[in-house]
Each structure stands twice: as C-alpha cells, then as structure tokens.
Amino acid sequence: MPISLFYFLVFTGIFILLGWAIYIVYRNGQLNNVPIAAMAVGAYICAYLTRELHWPFLPALLAAMGGGAVFSFVPALGLGRAPGFSMTIATIAMIFITQTVLRNMAFLGGVYGFYSIPRVDHLLIVTYVIVFIVGFFIFRLERSRIGRAMEVVFIDTSVARTLKINTYWLSVWLQVFAGVLGAIAGVLFANLVRILVPRHFSLGMLLNIYCFMFVGGYTTMWGVVVFTPILWGFPLLLPEAVAEWKDTIYGLLLVVTMLLRPEGVISKKMLWDIKVSVKRFFINRRKS
C-alpha cells in the first residue's frame, strides 16, 4: 500500500471521528469545540502511557477515553445551558487553556514536544474498526428516543422541555460523548504522527472540520462520512499549484453551500427520498 494512501485513510478516519464529535453536539443545537482540546488530552495520555509506562494499546486507549470524558464533563456541567454561539467561543477557551497547560508540563515534553511514540500494529484496521463501532453507536443513538429528542431540541428548546426532555442533561451527555470521540481521535493521531507538539492542536484543524461538516450536511451523520474523504482528498490530487489554493476553495465551498443548500449537500430528506424510491423500485419489480 502506498504510504500516502495509508496516511490519507487514517487521517480521514480521524477527521470523521472529530466531525462526528462536533456533529453530535450540534444536532442538539450547540457548536462545541471541546473535541479538539479533548483530542490533545487523549493523544498525550495515550502517548505517555505507551511510551513511558509501556502500556499496551487497548488499555491506553481506554484510559485516554476516560481522560477525554472527565476532561469534557467538567465544562459540560457549566455549558449545558449555553446558547449555540456562546458555546463556540467559550470552548475555544478550552483549546487555548489546554495548549498553555501542555506547554508548561515538562514531563510531557512541554514546548519541545513528545517524541518517538510507539505505533500500534495495523493502525489502519484499528482506525476503521473504531470508526465503524463509533458510527454504529451514533447510528443507534440517532434512531433511538434520544435521537428524536435531539431533533426537537434543535428546533425549539421549550417544546422539547414540555415533552419531558431534560435538555440540560442531554447536552451534558452529548458533550461528554463528543469529548470521548475527540480523545479517541487524539489516540489515533498520536499513533499516526508519533510526535506531539502542543501547537498541533489548534484552531486550524477546527476550520477543516467545520468545512467537512457544513458542506457535507449537518442534518445527518453521513454528510461527514461522505465529504471528509472527498474534501480532504481532492487537494491531494490536484496539481500543487492549484492545491495551494485549498483554503480559498474550502471558503468558497462553504459560502456556496450555505447559500444554495443550507442543510449541506447530504440532507436527511435526501436520504429519506432515496430510501423511499429504492423501496418503491423493488416493490414495482416484484409486481411486474
């Protein structure tokens, strides 16, 4: 397998996880950036445990997930009721704070970074197994009472509350879930890049993920899945002279999508229509 394909695929997996992390909270009407900070936390926990204490991958992954959960739980308690945008800005604070703290932690390499992290075997398979499991969970979550509750909260919080939906705890739970997803993404990142520097976990990555999510469609989990590989992949295929304009292209895509198809390219309605037409197609076939 070419090296670039390997890195492309694993990064795609990581971005899908991060995209889902932001998506799942956004379904609840809040734009949450904690996953990027949680990613740093997860990455450093996993890196420290595997390099310094020689833990195997799986326990390190679980520890990182726990770390991510705790890390996102504390602010989530306060941010549960925050309106959408306020949360966006408030959680950017988490990114800055995490970076600053990591820079001041000498045993994690501080400013110099944490080097030579061992890599788990079969990283690609591990990544996609994780993506598949997480995707399955989200799929189930969306089709459960919680998923339907999230839809109502997104439209109108007060309606949701009169349906006995505790919007506060729902938000807290989802933020913690997003934090865990971020931590998992961080673990994969640490295993892939094998060098961690606090500056790696910054707002730049966030913009990419916003782009994948909002162009792909924020009403369904498949928008992220389909558009992350496409949007992340196409600049790598273009000749370098054009690919250098990738940021501008992303920006234009965001503007155009929001103006022409504000729900993103893949909307829930579209998936539903496809489902219905496929069903109809098979029924017609059976009849004839």
């Binding site: 734009l31 602010p75 306060g78 941010l79 009721r81 925050a82 309106p83 959408g84 945008f85 306020s86 949360m87 966006t88 800005i89 408030a90 959680t91 950017i92 604070a93 988490m94 800055f96 704070i97 970076q99 600053t100 820079r103 001041n104 913009l207 916003y210 909002f214 304009w245 940021d247 501008t248 992303y250 920006g251 234009l252 895509l253 965001l254 503007v255 929001m258 103006l259 504000p262």
Partner: protein
Amino acid sequence: MEFLLAQIINGLILGGIYALLVTGFNLLLLEGGVFQYAYPHLLVLSMYVSWLVLRVTGNNIFLGILAAVLSGIVLGIATEPIFRSLSKRGAAVASFIVALGIAIIITDILSRVINKGIQIAFPESLKGEKALLQFGYAIISAGQMLTILGSFVAVGGIFFILFKTKTGRAMRAMAQVPGVARLIGLPVNAMSLYSYMLAGILGGISSVFLIMALGSASSGLGNTLALKVLAVAIFAGLGNLGGGLVSALILGMAESFVMGYMRGDWANAVAFGMIMIIVMVRPRGIFGMKA
C-alpha cells in the same frame, strides 16, 4: 503605581479598539440577524486597500484615508446580497458559516497576493506615533488619542442615528420584530441595506483608526481581531450595543492586566477562560442578549 496607571491606559486603548469593532458587529447582528464573523476581516481588507492607494499615490494621506473609508462602505454593502437570503430565513448559524468562509478566503488571499503576503506598514505621517501625553510609562500617542476620541464620536454617531432619528427608530423596530416591520409598511429591504451601509461606514472609519493605532497589518490580523470581537460580543450578550461598549473596555483591561502581571503565556487562555466562566454563569451574557 506608575505601572498600574500605564497598564490601565493600555487597557483602555485596547478596549477602545474592541469597542469600535464590536459596535459594527452588533449592528449587523441586530439589524440583519447576521453573525458577521468576517467583519474584522473586511476591515483589514480596507486597510490593505488603503495601503495600496498610499503606495500608488506616493503616500497621499488624504487619498489613503478616503480609500479606507470608501472601501469599507463598498465592502459593507457588497456583503449585503450574500447575506440577504440568509437574513430573511433567520439562519444565524448559516450566516456564521458563510462569514467563516469569507474570512478564510480573505485571509488566504491577503497572505499570498497583496505585497507578496508580507506584512504591510503604514507611513509615519499616518500613524501618529508621537507621544501626546506621558506620565512616566503611561503613554498616549497622537494616533491613539485620535482613535479613542474618534471611536467615541463614531459610536456616538451610530447611537444617535439609532435612537434619535426616524430611520434609526425604524431600524430598531425592525430588529425587535421583523415580521411586524413589514406589516406596518417599513421598506424592509431598504432598511437592511441601510444598516449594512451604516456598518460599512463604521467599518471604513474603524479601519482608519486601526491604521493609526496599530500602524501595520498582516493577513492574520483579521482572525486575531475576529476572535476578540466575538468574545466581547458574547461576554456582553449578543446584540447588546451598550453592553458591548462596556465589555470591550472590561476585556481590553483584562487582557492588558494579564499580559502585564501574569507569568507565562496565559494571555489568550485567561481572556477566553473569562468568557467561558461568563457563559457558564450567565449564558446570555452579563448584559443580556438583544438579538
């Protein structure tokens, strides 16, 4: 004592800059229902336009300032058609994302096209670096003085238009109940254009003040300012014009004190941490949301 005074003055100057930006931002939020994240980016773009004009005309200050103001107005109005459909739908998130897209494009282009992406510096005559007042380490330069006074005048002008003129009252009525405004026969489209123009004028003037206060601009300046503006707006409560002014001063002061007295590189972390705590304790900002 001397240092305390100096830091207070530094904070006030910083706060003055934020106040200018936040007023324009809140105006758009209030009138158009648009979350104009790219507002500071447009300002920076006007600064670049002014710089280009200065270079072409051999540092003709009058033309430079004119170019900044005019380009501010043009850019302000030019964004209106983009946001119009979103604003009608009341899609605040979509408008934020569109603005994010615009911001990315502006930053990318500035970082590579104008002046080969290198920082631009404005001529001495426009900066007004000379100290006007000095008490020990506390210094107010001519440019800064003008910026502060100018911001007061500009923001005061906006408030006057909004609260004392007929058009302004109509605009505020529209901001409060958009549906009703249409019913009672206000020209909604014209009003919306008007508010963009107002924000554009403010933007143009602000870009001149930014030139005076900062003396230089880079492609990354838009992002730095945008984060701060958003922080101030949320701290105050989105769309709260008066609260925005007070909060701008509070945050400017806080930033100056963190940089002045805290160890390590905590400036950004602490400034945003404050926002985080405010959002946790008072989710709608300390002065309450208006939008």
